[in-house]
């Protein structure tokens, strides 16, 4: 479905991605890990159309996208949950969801506001609250719900469980399972593989803007210790050891 090939990307003069290749199809869950500044979020930005490629290609369903913009990616079915969630502070929870339906009026993927409320009952309780009044967990749920209402074929999740209470993490994981059941693809970025391990079908590790390791679930299980040590070796000092 979505494939990134040999991508180079820059912020101004600083090169952030070097020859990065990634791919995710329907029902795939690609877990992308690496320490801070490894280029994970940058890779997602490229996939979401927020950062132009210096070289390399971005392909969707086998077609190369010439100048991908965020609008175009959204219409192709790529939904994005950024690291800082970007919940609209001056919109109510409900309005934060309604805004997705402006460009995606037909629930092609079967997602409606009611269904999002079913998935995250907490949001329903808080539907009149403004974005800026929400807790971190509520914001995360809202950001995911908002992305779902774009009827995604591929969901880009940037650190969806960062800083969340375990109960909320469980809810988010549950949501991800449900999304996968809809045959949508997911690319999930995390600092480590703690959460994605149970969900992912393939794994990639990034370091200094490059892909340091990648493999299928089977390959990962086989080399789990090596990959983990690769991650912890790469990881900053503050990184908790994966168990």
């Amino acid at each position: 479905m979505l494939t990134l090939r040999n991508a180079d990307a820059c912020y101004g003069a600083a090169q952030a991605l070097h020859q990065v290749s990634l791919s995710a199809g329907p029902g795939d869950v690609l877990a992308l890990a690496g320490r801070n500044g490894a280029g994970k979020s940058t890779a997602l930005k490229v996939l979401a159309g927020h950062l132009a490629l210096r070289s390399g290609t971005l392909e969707f369903d086998g077609k190369t996208l010439a100048n991908p913009t965020p609008e175009m990616m959204s219409h192709l079915g790529v939904a994005y949950v950024p690291e800082d969630r970007q919940v609209f502070p001056s919109l109510s929870v409900r309005e934060n969801l309604v805004i997705s339906t402006v460009a995606h009026p037909r629930p092609r993927g079967g997602w409606t506001i009611d269904r999002v409320f079913e998935l995250f009952p907490r949001l329903k309780e808080r539907r009149r609250a403004f974005g800026q009044e929400l807790s971190g967990g509520e914001q995360q749920m809202l950001a995911i719900g908002r992305a779902l209402l774009c009827q995604p074929r591929l969901l880009l999740l940037d650190e969806p469980t960062e800083g969340l209470a375990p109960v909320v993490v469980a809810a988010v994981v549950e949501a991800i399972r449900e999304i996968v059941a809809e045959k949508a693809g997911i690319i999930i970025v995390e600092q480590n593989f703690t959460v994605p391990e149970a969900l992912a079908t393939s794994f990639s590790v990034m370091d200094t803007g490059r892909i340091a390791w990648n493999g299928t679930k089977a390959e990962y299980m086989e080399n789990r210790r090596d990959v983990m040590s690769l991650l912890s070796g790469l990881g900053s000092d503050a990184q908790p050891q994966p168990t």
Binding site: G49, E71, F88, S90, N96, I99, S100
Partner: protein, 287 residues
């Protein structure tokens, strides 16, 4: 007293109409549109032209705002769109250039003389309101201001477009990721702001001389309302316009010579003490 109140209300509504477009453009685009006064003038001139050609004031209320909205959209696409990625100051400078050019265009097309829109029969004359005679047109002005205010409020609070506008104020990039082209939204906002300026120009036309340079004097008044209300805050703009209109009305009775200076002083205090404006009620809202 009641007469003063009604007149004060009409002044307030005029101020609101003047400032509304400026405040939404600032709120949604972050652009201080110095050319607002010029668009107001262009609106007035187009209204004069429509009335001269058709004799229909009501038609001018429709045509002038639409025409200026279209012109504003064009200006936004051609001149402002390339600048959003740059420093805010650049957009502001651009509006300076737009002032000079549009002033010249109006001067070339309509000349330097005075122009007038005669009142339609249904709006002329005066009716007694308690101890004062109030011009019917003033009541119309109050009504028009209220309708415009409520309309804007409804648009921003209750429509999908309004939701998108408010969303784009804070996180334009995210709005794009939801499949909505923000550049189009910006054009719509600028057109809306320009259209409102022209509406103000048309409604003001029967009250003032339509002339080149008429947009010059309103800019400071607009800023006063926008600053008091909080930049980008429609409700605040209404409240500020009401406050200012009534202060001017009653001030004219009791301390006519100090209105201006005291307005400036109040503004300074507001800017220093509450730069987000006096009327930021809802905690859920950005100023």
């Amino acid at each position: 007293m009641t007469g003063t109140l009604i007149i004060g209300l009409s002044i307030a509504m005029m101020l609101f109409l003047l400032a509304a477009g400026l405040t939404i453009i600032f709120g949604m685009l972050g652009v201080i549109n110095f050319a607002h006064g010029v668009l107001y003038m262009v609106g007035g001139f187009i209204a004069v032209e429509v009335v001269n050609q058709t004799g229909n004031f009501w038609l001018s209320l429709l045509v002038a705002p639409l025409a200026v909205a279209a012109l504003s959209a064009l200006l936004e696409i051609l001149l402002l769109r390339p600048l959003y990625d740059r420093d805010h100051v650049e957009q502001l400078l651009m509006t300076f250039g737009i002032i000079l050019v549009l002033d010249e265009v109006v001067r070339t097309v309509w000349g330097l003389g005075y122009h007038d829109i005669p009142l339609p029969g249904s709006l002329s004359g005066a009716i007694p309101v308690f101890d004062s005679d109030v011009a019917v047109y003033r009541l119309f002005l109050i009504g028009a201001g209220l309708i415009a205010g409520l309309g804007l409020f409804a648009l921003i609070e209750w429509t999908k477009l309004g939701i998108v506008l408010r969303g784009a104020m804070t996180h334009p990039a995210m709005v794009r990721s939801l499949g909505i082209p923000v550049s189009t939204i910006r054009t719509i906002v600028f057109a809306l702001g320009g259209g409102l300026a022209a509406l103000a120009g048309t409604i003001a036309a029967p009250l003032i001389p339509i002339q080149v340079g008429m947009g010059f004097g309103i800019i400071v008044d607009c800023f006063i309302v926008v600053i008091l209300g909080g930049l980008g805050n429609i409700r605040g703009a209404i409240a500020a316009a009401l406050l200012l209109g009534l202060v001017r009305a009653f001030g004219q009775q009791y301390f006519p010579e100090w209105i201006e200076l005291s307005t400036y002083l109040v503004l300074m205090i507001v800017l220093l003490w509450r730069p987000q404006g006096l009327f930021t009620f809802s905690k859920g809202r950005k100023a």
